[in-house]
């Protein structure tokens, strides 16, 4: 305690400005050789040989040894080498050196704002260089995790960069003193002055927000991964876990739909919609591997375990040239690397599912790590306990497993292996059992080649399989399984060159092979009336080459330019039918066929995809940004349901089906009000779409050997305005996003069967003009946190019956033009109260409780509006329309999260 008092007193002195002598002792040059001896010996030498006072507590240095040789080097460099990676750090005070645990340092900074200066380089070289390259890394000071996407602002130069996928950074700066501001969402902002003498490396640590003070400076990154990046949404693991969610299960995608321009169909929906795009227009990457179904349990949860996630970035526009394949967005999900320092086990127990994660060092070198996580549900068991026979006859369960091994082969050589597997099975009191699973693997190898070149290699595999079992209690001969699936194998290489701090270049290529099973009927029994049937597999070879450049054209104007060339070949074996051009394609109008052997090229599609964006920085710290992108999409999901279901299958662009092409222009204004802790942005976009997949009326999609005869290709456009205000700091923080958008379709084809709504524009099923999300977190006390979110959006377009008539003695209806009507407005308010884990670091077992209420005021938001014939009897002889709400009452939940 006495030492702590001493330390505090010293800091008080520091406040009075008694720091002038510090520079003198830093310049003292020392020598000595220490081979695996206790650190105390080194400190004793400092006292005895250089007459320096060193204050510390004996217990802090227990077990700490030193192996180093110093040959006439500045004291500050020696101390950096001794304590650079330790739990204990140091501070100069006049002619004294004060040692203290690192967490005390954080308190010091927060208390009095005092800063130390970090010297990079040997002072003897001062003035020798005009510019120098500063490399380094930012880590979580508590657990050692590398912080991907942390932001470094060089405030005196008005420059900003962010850390890469490994938490590293590199920039060229003029030598001399610079003020840095380091920030990362959920972590305390750190201000740090550096004195850059020559090129060198530096390690920064940031600490999680600890809520001990009234004013906590947490600054989130809204600046993106490139100089000019816009139309990007980002959530990290902490944000995901703080949102009140259904059944208490934190969810990546449910969090992302709170961002501007991102929407979902409703509670029971898989995936999400970006700027009016279909769900299949989003490329979701898990450590670089594509995911083809992102949902568990009818879409209640996403398939991503929140505990295993490090960072999620969604590109809605301004797509870097290294990305492509989907026209609406790319969601890049980075899995967390394991802890390199210690073994940790944590997880959560929820009402219908539980999860766990185990992570730790792989070997004792504290460089390599592993992480293994999983989730499973006990909803099946719960359903069996229900009195309602509909539930008792239902099945609903899932599990997922994720794991990775992160091998830090050297400071610049990192290898990461990832694996993921999931399985779902459910039926809803019917003969149909839905079953599907994902299997995903990825290898990512990042290699620093010299100080300015980084090589990124990815190899990935993804497989999605769906199985629908039709079961008949009294007639097993009619039982069958319908199978669909998709398999992907791909590789990507990206070479990044950083010639100087004003420019970043990259170039690379992608290659992938895909095999699709559009449908297969397999009898379930040996004695069967079912004939085996299979729609021919589809195969494709995709490739792309890309190059991009980020350049500071001037102090205020930055540009990112890129070009991507994509190519896609549909491969045999296949029989391609040719149709009479005088009729809309149909099986009756086949006039010829083409036979293609295995791996023969059926059709090749290709296109150039330019990408260009600019950022103009203004004096007040705000910026204007502009971006254009063209993207080709060669793979579509075939679905005529109002929401995406696991049964929906994929189809490639082939002989008859053209690829979807999107051109998007976006413009935005971004401004941060640092003093108020506010980030704001306004973005507007316009998108033009060609060759969208639509369907003829009455289209039969499943097991269709001539699917092209039921597909219509439509054109469309979308536009919108997105407003975003975020308060990332203070006891009350959160964000507000509002989007006004429209997304329209048109089928202007030759034949009547291919025309929807008389060839006029009609709203897409995802057209929701108004969308508002408000998220707020309030830190009530040190460990108590109250969170709430409110969402409000226009109802989805829907098609309703307008006319009725009699046929065969039965009342029939005639439906309106497609999507002529709109469902009622969707709104919902959720709250949660969290009792956070104990902040004492020494406590082995830490637990937190979250109580949440989803849909607090019991809004019966419509999932669908539909006609039901039985309603005749209920509405006095009139026909009835029904509104189906998935959740019509408040849903409470409680979750216990633990860590040890």
């Amino acid at each position: 305690m006495a030492l702590r008092h001493l330390f505090v007193n010293l800091i008080c002195f520091g406040l009075l400005g008694f720091v002038s002598a510090q520079d003198e002792i830093k310049e003292i040059r020392i020598s000595g050789s220490y081979q695996s001896v206790p650190v105390q010996e080194f400190l004793n030498d400092l006292t005895q040989n250089y007459h320096l006072n060193v204050y510390y507590k004996q217990g802090w240095l227990d077990g700490m040894s030193i192996q180093a040789t110093f040959n006439d080097i500045p004291l500050i460099q020696a101390l950096n080498r001794v304590f650079g990676q330790r739990k204990v750090t140091y501070r100069f005070f006049q002619n004294s050196i004060v040692l203290y645990p690192r967490e005390l340092r954080g308190e010091t900074i927060r208390t009095d704002g005092e800063q130390t200066v970090i010297y990079v380089g040997d002072p003897i070289n001062r003035g020798r260089y005009k510019k120098a390259t500063l490399q380094g890394m930012i880590t979580d000071g508590k657990v050692g995790d590398r912080l991907v996407g942390a932001v470094i602002q060089i405030t005196d130069l008005g420059k900003t960069i962010s850390t890469d996928g490994q938490g590293g950074f590199e920039m060229e700066l003029p030598t001399g003193r610079h003020q840095l501001q380091l920030s990362y969402m959920g972590f305390e902002m750190r201000a740090q002055e550096i004195d850059l003498i020559e090129s060198g490396e530096i390690l920064f640590e940031l600490f999680e927000e600890t809520h001990e003070l009234d004013e906590i400076a947490v600054k989130a990154d809204n600046l993106g991964s490139s100089r000019t990046q816009m139309s990007m949404a980002r959530v990290n693991a902490k944000t995901i876990k703080e949102l009140p969610v259904l059944m208490g299960e934190a969810d990546v995608i449910k969090s992302m739909v709170m961002m501007p321009g991102v929407q979902s169909v409703g509670e029971l929906s898989s995936g999400f919609n970006v700027r009016g795009g279909n769900t299949d227009q989003n490329l979701v990457l898990l450590d670089g591997a594509p995911i083809y179904n992102t949902s568990h349990l009818f879409g209640f949860f996403s398939m991503l375990n929140p505990d295993g996630i490090s960072d999620v970035i969604l590109y809605k526009g301004g797509l870097p040239a290294s990305y492509g394949d989907r026209v609406a967005s790319v969601m890049d999900v980075q899995l967390k690397a394991g802890n390199t320092n210690k073994l940790e086990f944590y997880g959560g127990l929820g009402l219908i599912n539980s999860r766990f994660t185990l992570e730790g060092p792989l070997v004792n070198d504290k460089k390599s790590s592993f992480l293994l996580g999983g989730r499973s549900t006990y909803s099946d068991w719960i359903l069996r306990q229900m009195r309602n026979v509909k539930f008792r006859n239902s099945v609903a369960h899932f599990y997922d497993l994720n794991g990775n091994v992160n091998l830090q082969l050297s400071d610049k050589n990192n290898l990461k292996l990832m694996g993921y597997a999931s399985s779902d099975e459910f039926n809803l009191n019917s003969n149909s059992v839905y079953q599907y699973d994902n299997l995903i693997g990825a290898l990512n190898w990042r290699l620093g080649i010299g100080p300015k070149v980084v090589s990124d290699f990815n190899a990935s595999y993804s497989r999605y399989k769906f199985n629908l079992s039709e079961e008949y209690e009294n007639n097993s001969a009619l039982e069958y399984k319908m199978k669909t699936g998709i398999e992907y194998l791909g590789t990507k290489y990206n070479l990044i060159f950083l010639p100087n701090g004003r420019m970043k270049l990259n170039a690379g290529f992608q290659l992938n092979w895909q095999n699709l099973n559009p449908g297969e009927i397999v009898p379930s029994e040996k004695v069967t009336s079912i004939e085996y049937e299979k729609v021919s597999d589809e195969q494709a070879l995709g490739s792309a080459a890309f190059a991009g450049a980020e350049v500071d054209l001037s102090d205020r104007l930055s540009m990112t330019a890129g070009l991507r060339y994509s190519r896609f070949s549909a491969l045999g074996e296949a029989t391609i039918y040719l149709y009479d051009p005088n009729y809309s394609p149909s099986a009756e109008h086949i006039i010829d066929s083409l036979q293609f052997g295995k791996n023969d090229v059926i059709k090749t599609w290709q296109g150039l995809e330019p990408r260009l964006s600019f950022k103009l920085s203004l004096n007040d710290g705000s910026s204007f940004r502009w971006a254009y992108q063209r993207v080709h999409q060669y793979l579509s999901q075939i679905s005529n349901t109002s929401v995406i279901s696991p049964a929906d299958f994929w189809k490639i662009s082939d002989y008859h089906t053209s690829p979807l092409i999107s051109d998007q222009v976006a413009v935005g204004y971004f401004k941060d009000f640092t003093r108020k802790g506010l980030e704001t942005s306004v973005e507007a976009y316009y998108k033009r779409l060609q060759n969208l997949v639509e369907y003829k009326n009455g289209a039969q999609l499943v097991m269709n050997h001539h699917l092209e005869t039921d597909i219509i290709q439509a054109d469309g456009y979308a536009y919108g305005l997105e407003l975003y205000v975020k308060k990332a700091t203070g006891r009350l923080n959160g964000w507000l996003s509002y989007t006004y958008s429209r997304t329209m379709r048109k089928t202007d084809n030759e034949f009547d069967e291919e025309i929807i709504n008389n060839g006029k524009y009609y709203p897409s099923v995802y057209d929701k003009p108004h969308d508002l999300s408000v998220i707020a977190n309030y830190q009530i006390a040190r460990r108590w946190r109250l969170s709430g979110n409110f969402v409000l959006s226009s109802g989805r377009p829907t098609t309703l019956p307008e006319l009725r008539y009699s046929y065969g003695g039965e009342q029939m209806v005639y439906y309106s033009d497609r999507n002529k009507y709109r469902m009622p407005t969707y709104h919902r308010f959720d709250v949660s109260l969290t009792f956070d884990e104990n902040l004492k670091r020494k406590r082995m077992w830490k637990g937190s409780w979250t109580i949440s209420i989803y849909n607090l005021y019991a809004r019966k938001n419509p999932y669908s509006i539909y006609y039901q014939r039985q309603a005749e009897d209920l509405s006095g002889g009139l026909f009835g329309l029904y509104k189906f709400s998935v959740i019509g009452i408040p849903v409470p939940s409680i979750t216990y999260n633990f860590r040890f």
Binding site: L268, L351, I352, I382, Q385, M386, R387, N388, V389, K390, F391, Y480, S529, I530, E531, T641, S642, V643, S645, G698, D752, T799, L800, P801, E802, L803, R804, Y805, S806, Y807, G808, M812, Y814, S816, K820, Y821, K860, P862, I865, Y866, Y867, Q868, R869, A871, L874, S875, G877, L878, F879, G880, L881, Y882, K883, F884, S885, V886, I889, P890, V891, P892
Partner: protein, 368 residues
């Protein structure tokens, strides 16, 4: 532990979806012409109805359209102008020939609507009807979704249907008549009398019958979607109760009524594939429940177009099917595996539901 389970179950019950009537603000739109036409090899079954739709929430009944003409022609060059039996209702004076192709032409409200040629399949020969006793459990749900199980005893009527190159799709119409009998009340203090056939002779009894029309989803049968059958084996036609139970309305519940059996008037239509697909769409609409992952909606597409104004829409269908008729009697006794089944060779007309009192049943009556 049980409490814990109850709490968990309660949470899940809370999640259960809710469904309620929704009053949409629908536009008033122009009504469309509806052409409902059936052409078979039996002239008495043929008809063409020309009517107009009504707006969805309109309380008006369907309006027939006056001043229309209907012509049916075949590929052999014959053309038949149909007489109008009543406003907008036409009959034929000819029977169509299986294997021949026909098309319809309707002139109404200044426009001409015409179909393509549709071919009549061969006439159906249905002689493999059979019955099996069956007990089903029906669940009646209260407001909380809690079920009460009710056992219903009865019988299921099956058919084996042949598949040929020209005939693969069937549609049934199965109106039926329930026969019951009420013996005379016993003298005071005497036990309840058995049914007349157990008492010997034909005592004075009440002979009652109740008609049920074919309604709801159309019974259609065809090869399984992915099937390779050569015969459609054991296709379920209908389920019938074997007790009068709640079938008699309150005013006619008579203590001591015995079910005699069912008379089923079976009409079988042999359809072509296009008609079968149309009726599948009809059934999709009739069965629509808004279930999870249901297709968005089932729009019915007619097989005719307006040739004078291609943008003009009309609804309905011109069904060209072969027709066959059989009447049969069927009964399965409660608590027994014994069943009764026979075809009725002389199908007397059955009046509307009613009762007569006497020692002899009505002329159409069928006994076990």
């Amino acid at each position: 532990m049980k409490k814990y389970i109850a709490i968990l179950a309660g949470f899940c019950t809370l999640l259960s979806a809710c469904e309620e009537v929704y009053n949409a603000n629908l536009s008033e739109v122009e009504n469309l012409l509806v052409i409902e036409a059936l052409l078979t090899n039996d002239a008495s079954k043929n008809y063409v109805k020309i009517a107009k739709t009504q707006n969805f929430y309109s309380r008006k009944g369907q309006q027939r359209v006056a001043g229309t003409t209907v012509t049916i022609s075949d590929k052999s060059g014959n053309s038949y102008s149909l007489p109008e039996n009543s406003t907008g209702y036409f009959i034929t004076e000819f029977s169509a020939v299986p294997g021949e192709s026909y098309r319809i032409r309707v002139e109404a409200e200044g426009e001409v609507y015409e179909s393509g040629y549709e071919t009549i399949p061969p006439v159906v020969s249905v002689d493999s009807i059979y019955v099996q006793p069956e007990t089903t459990i029906a669940y009646i749900y209260n407001d909380l979704g809690e079920p009460t199980a009710t056992e219903i005893t009865g019988m299921t009527v099956f058919a084996d249907l042949s598949l040929t190159e020209d005939l693969r799709y069937y549609r049934f119409s199965l109106p039926r008549t329930m026969e019951y009998v009420v013996p005379p009340p016993p003298p005071t203090g005497s036990p309840k009398p058995g049914p007349p056939w157990e008492q010997g002779g034909s005592p004075e009894s009440i002979w009652g019958w109740m008609n049920f029309r074919q309604s709801g989803v159309f019974p259609i049968h065809g090869p399984a979607t992915y099937g390779s059958e050569s015969v459609l084996k054991k296709r379920k036609l209908l389920f019938l109760r074997n007790t009068v139970g709640t079938l008699l309305s309150a005013s006619r519940v008579i203590d001591g009524a015995y079910m005699v059996g069912w008379i089923v008037d079976m009409s079988v239509f042999g359809m072509n594939e296009k008609s079968y697909k149309f009726y599948e769409s009809v059934n999709d609409q009739l069965k629509a429940e808004g279930k999870l992952f249901d297709a968005v909606y089932a729009q019915l597409t007619p097989n005719f177009t307006c040739i004078t104004n291609p943008g003009k829409k009309a609804l309905g269908y011109f069904e060209v099917s072969s027709y066959a008729y059989r009447r049969f009697f069927v009964m399965a006794l409660a608590g027994s595996d014994h069943t009764y089944f026979h075809y009725v060779e002389h199908p007397w007309p059955i009046p509307v539901s009613g009762e007569i009192e006497g020692s002899n049943p009505p002329v159409f009556w069928e006994n076990r």
